[in-house]
Symmetry: C2
Subunit: 400 residues, 2 copies
């Protein structure tokens, strides 16, 4: 559809009524320039957290319909306020919650998947030149129960709407200027990247970059939606994430250094009991939706030494699984670690990248716990104190 | 329906997560005693106000769909949290927003009227022994747009649900022990009333008692729903409002003293221009939904002296009407006034009540601006500084 564009604004872009007014001005200017936006919003920064805090005081760790209904009120507030700010500028618009926009999901509360979007309502609004303003992060089941899509779910809402409406460009407005070669707070020399391929961006999201939610990049890749990550309060272009990065490529081998502090290692002290035990353990962890990241096992059969990394917030669930399997006395928890990774579609075709990666680790004297590699990335769990110097050294080694 | 009961909790009853947990405990105990409650909630005390403040920063005085969508998020938060608190006590329950409960209203945003309630959903929940938890104050139009019912609208939701489901008792939980013979803060000797008739309660709501929203009393009267106003955190009985007060009556002439500070007087200085002018003025004020309360006109024809009282918050709208009619130079606004009233179904059959009322006013030396009477009440606008002593003197005069 010509001039149609999806614009998704993150929580920091709508963090206050002042910021909402600035965003309304920006949208009004874009419309004046001929754009026909569909707007998707996150909750005001901090709003969802304060709702979660209340929920935790009432029923810690509860998951279910009431929790999702609670959280979804955050986006309801932000779209209402932006709608008013646009009305004040005489921009005709209509705020739509998930049930009004017809965003239907599975009934897996707090981690629901979008199953279908009824687009008639939105299309009829566009026909009347009324711009739709959609609450991100939320959906409804077939039974009209409110669900949420998990943290960062507004990105998913935006991409799913782009796909359903066949809108080719989806702008993701955020509080950074784009996707960088490394976190600028960690590596001051980090540069903004002009273009990334979908697979590079997926690896980066997976490896700890918080700019884009991974499921939304997957979906964009599948449906060929061009993503444009950019700053909500700056006019400059940000980072484009498209199918054919090759067109724009500067031929770099490694395109980014990523890191993630939300990790810890669980290590088995004594000899473990072989494949059967491992399969039982990971099946049970999976059932509790614990996300197991890197697994390392030295030697097949007995005596095997097993260690794996998990998301920090899953520790409680993991320990309860280990306890049920009577393995909780047999483990050490290694905290104070971080995951450092290098990513690049160029890596697959060149040898020697892994060698250079490990020589950097050796040079920075980082303590190495776990390692994993794929065609386009190498990740290692190292001690947190070595993170900064290792990130900088990798950034330098690969000329980023 | 046997043992079925509607329980509506006001904002102060659910003002914090701690209070929500106490309410959950109370409901659980009531269920244990055999009650089958349908629960209606207001937003947490202060929540709606903070939403209004945000709205005012974005677009002052805006009314429309976005504003109602914003405000309705308050009840969404409170029912989600109470649902979780009840789940923690293993009470099966289901939180329902207006669109899920099928509460359909007119499309007059911010002041919508309930047109119908689809009860199938609620009935099917009761059949499964799942207690419904309904967001008060909100509705949806036929086009599935969110509306709100105006301040105190949760009372209306509760009574409308009682009526639609033929549940004969509706408990209104609040932060006072019941309806008093006067505001205890103004008249320390004020007593809690055991019973009131619908018409007495309507007059009291109309005359400034904030315990119950007037439209909800009207609706309860029309459908014969017995209301029970009681304290959310005390076990004692509160005040019953029923059709036949006579059964319980102690034969009192006057049953209460009410007051209202949310009033001011607009007085015309110069000679006004007769009936035509008055009709035009009040028609235009009505169109802007300005609530004109007491009107006084001395002498018919010319020269007539006109004065009337309005709700304070309607001053801005009133002045704009007066300006359009080029009358704004011709008026004085008298602020610093209050309305004081006496109410009682007994008044109609006894003479001399008005005489006693005015002799009290004379004794307290209150300055009298406007007066109005009906079969069951006398109201006067007096200076605010005399309010307290006049209220106490009236309370004493009529043996309350």
């Amino acid at each position: 559809m010509k001039n149609f564009i999806v614009k998704k604004f993150g929580g920091t872009s709508v963090a206050s009524t002042e910021k909402i007014k600035i965003i309304a001005k920006r949208i009004a200017e874009d419309i004046k320039r001929g754009e026909r936006p569909l707007i998707v919003l996150s909750a005001m920064s901090g709003y969802t957290d304060s709702l979660i805090q209340m929920a935790d005081r009432v029923f810690p760790d509860y998951q279910g319909e009431a929790y999702d209904m609670l959280l979804s009120s955050g986006e309801q507030v932000s779209i209402s306020l932006l709608s008013m700010a646009l009305k004040k500028r005489n921009i005709p618009n209509k705020p739509l919650l998930a049930h009004q926009a017809g965003i239907q999901t599975s009934s897996f509360f707090s981690k629901a998947c979008i199953e279908s979007i009824r687009t008639e309502k939105i299309k009829s609004l566009f026909k009347k030149n009324i711009f739709p303003l959609i609450a991100g992060f939320q959906g409804v089941t077939k039974q009209n129960e409110i669900t949420t899509l998990g943290r960062g779910g507004s990105d998913l809402t935006a991409v799913a709407l782009s796909s359903a409406l066949k809108i080719k460009t989806c702008e993701i407005y955020t509080d950074v200027r784009g996707v960088f070669t490394a976190d600028p707070q960690l590596v001051p020399k980090a540069r903004k990247q002009k273009h990334l391929s979908f697979s590079e961006m997926m690896e980066m999201s997976y490896l700890g970059s918080k700019v884009l939610q991974i499921r939304s990049v997957e979906m964009a890749s599948k449906h060929g939606i061009n993503l444009h990550v950019r700053h909500a309060f700056k006019k400059e272009e940000g980072t484009w994430i498209t199918k054919k990065k090759e067109n724009f490529m500067e031929g770099s081998l490694v395109s980014a250094v990523a890191h993630d502090l939300n990790t810890l290692v669980i290590k088995f002290n004594k000899t473990a009991e072989g494949v059967g035990f491992i399969s039982e353990l990971f099946t049970k962890l999976g059932k509790e939706s614990v996300f197991v990241d890197i697994i390392s096992q030295s030697g097949i059969g007995v005596p095997a030494r097993l260690a794996f990394s998990i998301t920090k917030t899953d520790l409680k669930k993991s320990l309860s699984v280990l306890k049920k399997l009577k393995l909780d006395k047999n483990i050490s928890i290694i905290d104070g670690v971080a995951k450092i990774s290098i990513i690049g579609v160029g890596m697959a075709s060149y040898s020697g990248v892994a060698g250079r990666f490990f020589s950097v680790i050796k040079k920075t004297k980082a303590r190495l716990y776990l390692v994993t590699t794929s065609e386009i990335k190498i990740s290692a769990i190292i001690d947190k104190t070595s993170l900064k110097k290792t990130a900088r050294a990798l950034h330098k080694e690969f000329d980023l």
